[in-house]
Symmetry: D2
Subunit: 428 residues, 4 copies
């Protein structure tokens, strides 16, 4: 998610009239997210995957400056000559860029300067939007920039969580986050939903914004299968841990076992040794037994499923199971910023709470074609070595989510809000 953009395939629902308020609202949301931070918190890169909050704030502005203001707003003067270099994420066509692992070495520009940069970009973007009636062709790029910014809002939260977590002082991002009371019973066996075999369709149908990796909608043959009625819970995952799951190579993929040994994994990221407490955006808190397990890699999800006598669903299975369900769930809008137990969210908990690892490698859909130019240059460039996750998390915006949305990460990644749901073959 750190490095995706894509050509929009759909129109802006609200039309031109709603665009400026929408633009201002999305941009303001980024600034609202960082308000609880100290200046020092904006600077650090706690591992190569993480970007400093300051960088996110600048890079999302760079996107508008690079792809809209520079080429499209007559007479536009860039805010700073070197920012084109400093805040390019991976667009090779745009030119050289500052090395990713060195984002945490930059003390300048200061946070205050980055905020001025944002204001400069916002002012000029509003000017450009006012002139848009004459150039409706820019709308898709604006919409893309806003979706891009929403993705970075989620990354800002997960990155800040990681930065704070490596500090022995265990500082909270916000101490006032809503918590769910722990339940009394530890494990409730979930039911299973069965779907019949058949020739189906998945992918975006073209009636709203989507990223290009969700297209084209296409036919797939799916054998009968079953999916669990909710994600795997902390209590269930703890059983796996306590049963010695991290010490039994038989449960693991070969590369997964190598990762366990290399990193010394013995439990989910952010759990402490007692298996009773975890680090959250609200600081150190008791682990809620019924809430979905979170911050596990694909390897751990896959090993748990094998141990449980099940498997992960493919992304086709997931999408077919979730299709038609309401997009309700524990999103960032709930103010929890942490997965919650069932009952707080929509049916089946398909949306929100945790991104669910699927068994599917991230690959182009049949007939996929990248857009032209710098925006489209890299549409498919991440389609290797990563796995698809579905459904959004407690750090995702509700109106950013849809059933066809494809997120993707490397199998060893753990710092996003990642969990799993079990599946099994239907012919039982």
């Amino acid at each position: 998610m750190a490095a995706r953009t894509s050509a929009p395939s759909a129109r802006i629902p609200a039309g031109l009239a709603g665009l400026e308020p929408h633009f201002n609202a999305v941009r303001a949301a980024s600034v609202a997210l960082v308000r609880p931070l100290e200046i020092e918190d904006y600077v650090v890169q706690s591992m190569p995957d993480v970007s400093p909050a300051k960088w996110h704030l600048a890079h999302t502005s760079w996107f508008f400056e690079q792809f809209l203001l520079r080429p499209k707003l007559p007479g536009y003067t860039p805010f700073h000559q070197r920012f084109e270099y400093l805040f390019n994420s991976y667009y090779e066509a745009v030119g050289p860029r500052h090395a990713r692992p060195e984002r945490g070495l930059l003390t300048r520009p200061t946070v205050a300067e980055v905020m001025r940069y944002r204001e400069h970009v916002d002012e000029h973007m509003v000017r450009l939007l006012h002139a848009l009636d004459a150039r409706e062709e820019l709308l898709p790029l604006v919409e893309l920039g806003l979706n891009h910014e929403q993705q970075h809002q989620e990354l800002m939260l997960t990155d800040i969580k990681h930065v704070l977590s490596v500090n022995p002082l265990e500082p909270a991002y916000r101490a006032d986050l809503l918590q769910s009371a722990p339940g009394t019973d530890r494990t409730v066996t979930p039911g299973w939903h069965k779907l019949e075999s058949g020739l189906r369709e998945i992918g975006a149908a073209g009636d709203g914004f989507c990223f290009d990796n969700e297209t084209p909608r296409h036919r797939v043959w799916v054998d009968a299968f079953e999916v669990a009625a909710r994600p795997v819970s902390n209590a269930e995952y703890r059983e796996f841990v306590e049963a010695g799951g991290y010490g039994q190579p038989a449960h693991w993929l070969s590369d997964g076992w190598a990762a366990v040994c290399e990193h010394g994994w013995t439990r989910p990221l952010y759990w402490d040794e007692s298996l009773e407490f975890e680090f959250t955006l609200g600081g150190r808190r008791p682990i809620h037994p019924q809430a979905p397990v979170c911050h596990i890699s694909f390897y751990e999800a896959d090993a748990f499923a094998r141990w449980a006598g099940a498997r992960l669903p493919t992304e086709s299975e997931w999408e077919l199971a979730a299709a038609g369900l309401p997009l309700a769930g524990n999103f960032v809008d709930s103010g929890r910023l942490h997965p919650a137990p069932p009952g707080k969210t929509g049916p089946g908990q398909f949306f929100g709470d945790v991104w669910e690892w699927t068994a599917s490698a991230y690959a182009p859909y049949p007939g996929f074609h990248a857009a032209a130019g710098a925006i489209g240059e890299y549409n498919g460039k991440f389609m290797c070595n990563q796995l698809v996750l579905r459904g959004g998390s407690c750090a995702t915006l509700a109106d950013h989510m849809r059933a066809t949305y494809r997120n993707f990460f490397y199998p060893q990644s753990r710092w996003q809000f990642m969990g799993l749901r079990l599946a099994r073959d239907g012919s039982r």
Copy 2:
């Protein structure tokens, strides 16, 4: 391929009568392969992926000792107590094993001792086979062991090639290998074969030996597509190199570009700077323009295809295109041990010459289930982070190949005989 085994799903065609000669023939073929080597050549591990020839000879014997002689031959005494540890490849259930990157540190057992080990195992295996009528249930394991040994025969050749290649003296494995005369024209545009969309089936049908990863045969929906009439040639690939293909990030997957930069790739493995000569099992030789390009990673295959305005076929597409073609081709049996230009082989050159990278991540087929026990423990354990290759190479035995055969390697691997064939969407 280095670390696979699987439960056989099919019967031995020739039945019990043919088994002993077949066993002896396969075992003798391994020994025949190493005959051109000097003792020193058996010892070295030139990179972690490579195993010393000595190790291959011992490990393939270990397989029979471990899974057949120890459990099934009453009164069997293992040849050496520590060989169980030394020559286990990756079977975690069998117990601890010698670390893979340290295989090249073992000067003992000597080659002569390993040969005695082979003889010891062979003698006792023949004894076991004679008693087999009473226990036909062992046949699948024997057959699996022989297919396993054939896989290692191919690896021995590619590993020896790599070992010799890192020597500035550029020694040949065999100086007398048959060569194809270079043609005069450099490039002939291949034709395209078109296949219509439809609901099809792929996977092993159960009428002969196969590995479990080829099962179950299952339905897939395939959109219309076209595949090239032959693999990409050296001449064509050289155009990509000379056009600056290794310097243009736009052609590459993100991880591919990172690999190019990390390893400093500028051409296929074994080509020299002039782009005119390559290291082969016959020593340094001119590159044949019409022969299939070889020793390229998935990243290079993918980048070439994108540069050429095409793409790699999925493994479904490949299997459907190859289904029904005769299994003729330039296999190890031809004595070339190098890819040859079209005309030497079967129609379309689908089989032999080079393994063809597909666009498909190596994953379980729908409904796949692993066998029980140590043999089956790891059936699916490599189903992550690797890509499927199809068709066999000039180092594969002809009778080891079939259209449903799934080979797999990491996307950065180059030391096998690996090439590519172009494909494109059918709706043109």
Copy 3:
């Protein structure tokens, strides 16, 4: 220098009356040094050798809290329970500590909190000093703490310089630093001072504060030798660069040549490719030809000397040559924060400007004995693999320097203000 402490061997000159003002002055000097920084500048660790400014400010306070307030001030309450762990540098006897390369991961405590920590420590230290007449035995520890803080003041400057230097924006620490006008002639051959052979003495004589590594004063036999009348200049070093010095292994120690190849060194740290400009604490500025060359490793100093037909002096030779000279020089007190050409400083430029690499490995003097307890536990623990430097630099306090002072760094270090002076055998 990053990690030394030692037991004082001498009395405080000014006595008890002068102690409190002296304490306050040294502590205030640290705070004055960071005044030009932005908050973001305090946080970053640009390489493992560098510590964030915030850490220096806290660690120097931790020293007083750990070794004086906790054990000696009745009823003292530590400012924060975890600071004992966070700001311990390397005192194993004190307990576990936060890993050095992770100092740049800490966003908290904030700079403001660190400043409050300093104030808390200062207040209680003053209270302790008032009671000191009853416990004069604490004076050596106080004096040691203040010398320790002065060492960290120099490190703060060199660390900040490195942090700012890795930023493509090339920000200045202070844009208003005094500069020396470049001279017109590039090279003036320095004279040589000759010293006769004989049995001499080096080491601290016991008439003022010194670190324990300067003791005991002891006899050494020294053969006749000559030392240059000033350090090697930028113009002279540039000749070495332009003569291809970095490409000729014959000039280099074996480990030095390995370092050149590994790091790709082609010129001093902070010089740009043109050899005309360098990064300074005042930002990017022209290189002054007559000023001493700076920011070179021991390997570079040694290679230059060999190229020039000379050698580095031993630390005995250096100390004998400098003995008796006034302690005048371009120290931090001058406000330049950069080496200056001759004429601005004392005779021979032995003191200030640049630390001068010697040929001597850092080792205990004959008869050296470490003090008891945590302070003394590590007196000799750095006496391996490092080389001695002498004379102080433009970042050293004038009253912190003396002829017997032994600084030490690894031979590959370059980020301190390090240069060299030539020597040669006397029997010419």
Copy 4:
């Protein structure tokens, strides 16, 4: 020792008449050393410091070909054009060379070819020696080449020991080595020899062959000191291990403690966990309590000495203590190839058994000057980051040793026969 050569400073004692037999004897000794090996044993490089036996045999021949036959024997044809490149160790002036860590990748030339190379060189060297009366100036180079070969004979033994040691089969180099019967008492406190302070001389006096690093003989002031009457024994070192010495940072130099943590050291190299057995050139054998401890790094020697309330001697102290003692000891000539308890050797066990770590960094003696040309180019190039060891070991030839001999290794090295002797200040 792996990479030293130096210009001889002295004449060949026996004169021209004795040269050819001496040449033949030294060359034959190398071949005799490898006779117990299997072909496979010649090939492997078990760590970067180790060279394959095959390489040693070729490199020592390369030395004569490179520095004598090529430049001095009219009409000489090199044995193989690429051997100049393959078997250069580190002589930068001679040209590029095969990378050291890749010596174990070369399966060719075979051992048989290397032996033919040796014979080729020997034949031509004898021809050159016959013509030597006309060119006596070559004698120093011949003598240097023979001393160089003797150094490599010791390295061959220690390298082979390491190669065999990494094999879980624990093969012996020779199973018939003489062993010393273990004594009954574990610890006998050694006496101390006292030397008075004074102005002394160390270094080679010019009355026989020496390496240039032993020159010039020069004056040193030495304070009164004491040295132990024998090296530290296995029983004494075991006490340190059992007292938790490897777990107490207070005993260790800072870099030493880092090495302990990085490598997980808990005992000398080749000891097993029981502290009762060790791997030797004769295979696995009981540790002899009274024999000198062996295969410890400088860091371990230094830590033991500190724990024991003593210190290592400087190289001056060692040389002065050993001066005048007979050169008797347990050298390679004894056929033990392992350190022996006192009583088997000369007084004080200064010579043979184990090289003794000193406290002295390897550095040029005052007035040292390198010879001209390729031979002398690198005389001083290793004089950084290494420590001096004295006295020779059970793998050194008796007639290769002298009191002024300076061996040197990095402080973390353990694979040579390395031990220690305690010293302490004399003013007790």
